[in-house]
Point group: none
Chain length 223, copies 2
Amino acid sequence: MSILVIEDDPKTGDYLKKGLRESGYAVDLARTGTDGLHMALEHAYDLVVLDVMLPGIDGWEIMRALRARRDLPVIFLTARDHVSDRIRGLELGADDYLVKPFSFTELVLRIRTLLRRGVIRERDVFEIADLKLDVLRRKVTREGVEIPLTNKEFMLLHLLVRRQGEALSRTQIASEVWDMNFDSDTNVVDVAIKRLRAKIDHPFEKKLIHTVRSIGYTFGDGA
Amino acid sequence: MSILVIEDDPKTGDYLKKGLRESGYAVDLARTGTDGLHMALEHAYDLVVLDVMLPGIDGWEIMRALRARRDLPVIFLTARDHVSDRIRGLELGADDYLVKPFSFTELVLRIRTLLRRGVIRERDVFEIADLKLDVLRRKVTREGVEIPLTNKEFMLLHLLVRRQGEALSRTQIASEVWDMNFDSDTNVVDVAIKRLRAKIDHPFEKKLIHTVRSIGYTFGDGA
DNA sequence: CAGACGGATGACAAAAACGTCATGAACGGC
DNA sequence: GCCGTTCATGACGTTTTTGTCATCCGTCTG
């Protein structure tokens, strides 16, 4: 299990890093909000511990940005116990908070609780911009209206959504959706993208499927 | 979503019940620990809010008993903020705690967070006898070999498997898989069952789809 | 055992999904 | 602005999926 700690105060940061390491987690430490955000988006951490009082981008911003892109559990640390802070954090989607100074044991327990709760399960509901994709029910909606998709369309969209922001090559797509491991010269992917676009992009203002020239395609609201 | 509140103080209890109802949850209230434990074990609540200070069996005992039997998310309420109490609760497996007096908004937010975190997530992998159904990957296997299914076949099987052991009428099946809410006289269901059987039952020794005469169909290994 | 009811199935037809190809449009480098 | 490359799309044909129907079969009842 790997944890990212975003904390500007060196003392607290090192303390957390050391302590969590000793509790058996792989820990990375980011000293600024910007770094933290980048690291969180680059690597596949299992959980983030986030100080809300940061110079530069503040914790709230990070939380918002994080939530928008990934469904990572977040525990936030707040310096003083203001009810409004706590509520704000929870509203932004944090899973938990701790008030400084806190007991280290408690932090570890809370981390354990969150990780125990099967965070590591695969995601089955995605929301990007106004698009919602529910894997268990095989349903896709935009602006709340359901869009029926065929099998291939759903698989393709699921792949794009799962890897949102990543540019996926046609070969990658073909291998995942059609499971061709060889490199055939066909434009099935292009055609499939076209058909998918006709359903989930063309009728709407905001386009979510983007072409990455000479690479492939990518999905996201590009914010 | 349904919640069980275990709280002996009538005022707090009613307050919680009323408030949570207004927030859209179905709420039951237990006034003693014993009652609460029984209710929790009898009914399928999605979450428990538990006061640790109870006459008779105390909250800790309940939590222990609960944890032993069911994997229900528990939020506990503690009268005063003693670090040791908090740690004890978390160690016993609570998912969260609140210190009285607490903000109602915060309680609701915490409940939402826990429920969102998909503690009560739907199942996405089923195994019945040698059949395995993986909803996220849309894959079905028997004796380890994959059986490709069409959309309707998969939906039908998924329904049967989800409700294994239950006898489902054609009308129920039609309404869930085809979403017909009217009662048309068609035998699509029969035909679909036939096609499904051809794939997942006929090639194998053990039959899993059973007809329930003059009712409908049922799924299971009948053990 | 005959008849009636409910269920199973094979055959057919319509609809939907899918892949291929050829052509047209957009883009980037020069 | 020109040209080559890359992408988008319309059209077509094939395959698969799906629904309907008519007939056959099994089982329960009397």
